[in-house]
């Protein structure tokens, strides 16, 4: 399985063109030999890929090919059974999701998970949790046994009796929330004080993206950002993704709508049966016979060592 990938791993000119300032050679995300099984089924079976700084990489593939599982492994929602994941050189595959978020990975979910009991603006504000410093003192202790109560109680105290630094941070956070809202101004602006559970499906996805961006992520992970959206809404999201890309945002994307993928991606990874079957520039991947086969069907072959 690795032959194809290696054959197609070519230097990425677009990356260099978009992020000329990025001098460091280490990729933002480096995934090696990632594995995950579900009761005998190899959902992700030795997957390796990288995402360079400022690069937009999309994972496509038929249903059940392991795309979302790969995203869940990268963001720590489920733990991997093997392999390594590095973010800017630092291993994150043993971290819990919160720590991965603190390390700079923000994500959205396939089915639009918003905080229903919070307003749209508050949803976005929660997204900044990992970036707050003044309101969350002693943060380094927050993973320590028992001592984690020190940052918790300090945070409670500052929530009730804010210092000047905390107030300044609050004001900055409010500005950031407005900025993120402004990104979806037409759509989310009028809904800013509505509870998220009242939102339409498309607006939930927008809120989620805004919340993820509020983290100021090193890597933005998007799981089917246009699922359930109509054509004009999809086109809107495409515009926004291109804007983000132009601003140098590194992204890892899972998406079914191939037009969007081909337009926005620097590189496309094709998965099937938990493995990468092709990888490369969008126009190359599109013509790859293995990809055509995976999408359109294949000849019947006996499976060896697959399944239970």
């Amino acid at each position: 399985m690795s032959e194809i990938r290696n054959a197609r791993r070519a230097p990425q000119e677009p990356t260099a063109a978009i992020a000329p300032g990025a001098a460091d050679a280490a990729p933002v995300l480096d995934v090696r030999d990632l594995e995950r099984r579900f009761a005998g089924l190899r959902a992700v079976d030795g997957v390796s890929f990288t995402v360079g700084r400022g690069e937009v990489v999309s994972i496509i593939g038929p249903n059940g090919s392991g795309k979302t599982t790969t995203l869940n492994l990268v963001t720590g929602v489920i733990p991997p059974h093997g392999g390594e994941i590095r973010l800017e050189g630092r291993r994150i595959d043993r971290l819990d999701p919160a720590s991965i978020a603190e390390a700079g990975v923000a994500r959205t979910f396939q089915n639009g998970r918003v905080f229903g009991a919070l307003t749209v603006a508050d949803n976005i504000e929660v997204g900044m949790h990992a970036t707050l410093r003044a309101a969350r003192p002693f943060r380094r202790l927050s993973r320590a046994f028992l001592l984690r109560w020190i940052p918790l109680l300090a945070e409670l105290w500052l929530a009730l009796v804010p210092t000047r630094a905390v107030r300044r941070e609050r004001a900055a956070a409010a500005d950031r929330v407005e900025a993120e809202l402004g990104r979806f101004g037409q759509r989310l602006g009028p809904r800013r004080d509505d509870f998220a559970y009242t939102l339409s499906y498309a607006n939930r996805r927008r809120t989620e993206i805004a919340r993820a961006l509020a983290l100021g992520p090193t890597l933005l992970v998007l799981d089917e950002p246009t699922a359930g959206m109509n054509q004009s809404e999809t086109a809107e999201v495409l515009e926004q993704l291109l804007e983000l890309k132009a601003a140098g945002q590194t992204m890892l994307l899972v998406e079914h709508k191939l037009d969007l993928v081909m337009t926005v991606s620097d590189r496309v990874i094709v998965m099937d049966g938990g493995r990468i079957i092709a990888e490369g520039r969008p126009e190359d991947v599109r013509r790859d016979p293995a990809v055509v086969e995976a999408y359109l069907g294949r000849r019947r072959e006996p499976y060896a060592g697959e399944g239970i």
Binding site: V77, V114, A117, V126, G127, F195, T198
Partner: protein
């Protein structure tokens, strides 16, 4: 040694029968049915009623009990569980909790609260086993259980509807697609489960030789722990869990005394939930797909009090009532205020963090005892003991509950119920400090200098001041980033984690905040009552606190004031008898979660 083992097996026998029912219902309806515990208690009472009062022969009694309890199971599913379980599982859990309280109190109302002797139907010590005497009665019960289990096992394996039950249990949607009448299968499961519960009730009466209308809850909870130990949804697990728990408990009690029963049971529960939440024979889902509590919250926008609303509330509470109310009304008022304090802060846990905690009487008891002991034994002034009581309640409740915050789904609610019960059990056991069941007398009234503030008006004003402070703090918290973070946890844990929110820690913090004010409330109660004992901090007290916040809106601090006014103020002024009150709390809870799940103090969205 051997007699302990046999006692354990006989207890385990009963646990297994009840646990199988709990597991069966959980399997097909995905609801922990608290009402099952009361059905089991009712089984004992009915058996006593038919054999002793009516003089029916035993072979008529058993089918009669089975028929009645089975029918009751059907009614509970039809009226309470089914309408709620589909869209609001946590509401179904709350409703069955309420049904359980209603049934227990109806039973107490009908049969009287006394413990009564149950006649020996079969000889109880006529057989020799090793060096030990046992009875034909014991052997007969044991044999019956084995036969019942075998029949049930065969039915589930080969019977047409039995297979349908298993199919529904694995995937209700797929079962429905295959033409299985899922609704009827759920009814059937409730009937079978409840009849088994009734049978277990008869057995427990035979074995212990006594019956009482409130015996169901303790044994029922133990059986629930057995079902969890075996793995909810697994029949084999329920049987194994029942016997294992029976034996462990028997040895524990033989070794440490009867006071530790609850402590053993719930220690096992916590260990299972933390180490292997799926139990011995069950599985736990990797990612919970349902944000369980989010749906419960998003049911309307809290009504915001404008300045004139706040002004009216303050003038009424702070000026009009103190000026015009008599001593009786002021005493009622203090109760209303104390529960409003406890409830307003409880919304941080139930509403924001989305943890429906079922044992809030625990932290209240901690605060009451802490304050009572600090003032009587150490001579601290009330004004220092009051915040100290809050701190102590928060610390002890947090220490006891620290393992549970990673627990998923409904288990966390049950774990909080366990913690409430364990706290009261610990207070009972810690006799040298707390004087156990005797309680503590002579808790002093607050005083300023030489002025003793023991008049109802003084209590009222103190409580009002504390309530205002509580509401201000809770409001300040809700408006802060921390408040939003806690609310994100209650809305969707997975998404919160992805935003860098350490979900467990914030649940623990929310619970600690609620426990602090529960402790403060407990302290206020203790100094007003001047006498406290462990029986005060019962499950009905937890039910009351929960009903108050559900009535007002689980996410609406001011709603707790409304809830408290209605449930304590109105019922007290209408002079409703205590047993009926618990029934009304239960009914109120069911009706609210059924028809207005956001509470009354919200505007419908």
């Amino acid at each position: 040694m051997l007699d302990t083992l046999i006692a354990g097996l006989l207890h385990g026998n009963v646990y297994a029968l009840v646990a199988v029912g709990i597991s069966l219902v959980f399997g097909v309806s995905n609801v922990v049915n608290f009402a099952h515990f009361s059905i089991f208690g009712l089984g004992s009472m009915l058996a006593w009623w038919f054999t002793v009062e009516f003089g029916w022969p035993f072979w008529v009694t058993i089918p009669a009990v089975l028929a009645i309890t089975g029918a009751l199971g059907f009614v509970i599913n039809l009226t309470v569980v089914r309408p709620l379980a589909r869209f609001l599982p946590i509401a179904a859990l709350l409703a069955t909790y309420a049904v359980s309280q209603i049934l227990d109190n109806l039973s107490q109302f009908a049969f009287g609260p006394r413990v009564r002797p149950f006649p020996d139907i079969l000889p109880t010590d006529d057989l020799q086993l090793g060096g030990l005497r046992i009875g034909t009665s014991d052997v007969a019960m044991f044999a019956t259980t084995i036969v019942v289990m075998a029949v049930l096992g065969a039915y589930l394996k080969w019977g047409k509807s039995g297979r349908a039950i298993r199919a529904t249990s694995q995937d209700p949607d797929a079962a429905l697609q295959m033409g299985i009448p899922v609704g009827r299968i759920q009814h059937l499961s409730f009937i079978i489960a409840s009849a088994l519960g009734g049978l277990a009730g008869v057995f427990v009466a035979l074995y212990t030789g006594t019956v009482s209308p409130t015996s169901g809850l303790t044994t029922g909870l133990t059986a629930f722990v057995a079902a969890t130990l075996g793995g909810l949804g697994s029949m084999v697990g329920a049987v194994v869990g029942g016997f294992v728990l029976g034996v462990v408990e028997a040895f524990g009690i033989a070794w440490l005394g009867d006071g530790v029963r609850d402590i053993i049971t719930f220690t096992i529960l916590l260990l299972v939930l933390v180490i292997r939440p799926g139990g011995l024979f069950g599985r736990t889902p990797l990612i919970s797909t349902e944000p369980l509590t989010g749906t419960f919250l998003g049911r309307g926008r809290p009504i915001r009090l404008r300045w004139w609303g706040i002004a009216i509330a303050l003038v009424t509470g702070g000026v009009l009532v103190p000026l015009f109310a008599d001593a009786y009304l002021l005493t009622v008022g203090t109760q209303v205020l104390v529960y409003a304090i406890i409830g307003a802060a409880f919304t941080v846990t139930t509403g924001q963090a989305g943890v429906i905690a079922l044992g809030q009487a625990g932290p209240i008891a901690l605060g009451a005892y802490a304050s009572a002991l600090l003032t009587t034994a150490l001579g601290w002034p009330f004004w220092v003991a009051l915040p100290a009581a809050g701190l102590i309640a928060a610390i002890i409740a947090s220490v006891l509950s620290f393992p549970i915050w990673g627990v998923k789904g409904h288990y966390i609610s049950i774990a909080t119920l366990g913690i409430g019960i364990v706290i009261v059990a610990l207070i009972r056991v810690a006799e040298p400090i707390t004087r156990g069941a005797y309680g503590i007398y002579g808790i002093p009234a607050p005083s300023i200098g030489d002025l003793v503030l023991s008049a109802p008006l003084a209590y009222y004003l103190i409580d009002l001041a504390v309530l205002v402070v509580t509401l201000v703090i809770v409001r300040q918290l809700r408006r802060s980033h921390l408040g939003r973070v806690i609310a994100s946890v209650g809305s969707d844990e997975i998404a919160a984690l992805a935003s860098g929110v350490r979900v467990r820690d914030y649940k623990a913090l929310a619970f600690a905040i609620s426990a602090f004010f529960a402790g403060v409330g407990g302290s206020l109660l203790a100094h007003q009552y001047t006498y406290i004992d462990p029986a005060l901090f019962s499950i009905p007290m937890s039910l009351l606190v929960l009903t108050i916040v559900v009535l007002g809106g689980v996410n609406v601090p001011f709603g707790a004031v409304i809830g408290s006014l209605v449930l304590i103020g109105a019922l007290e002024v209408l002079r409703v008898a205590p047993e009926i009150r618990v029934i009304l709390y239960g009914l109120a809870l069911i009706l609210i979660v059924r028809f207005r799940p956001g509470g009354v103090w919200v505007r419908r969205a």
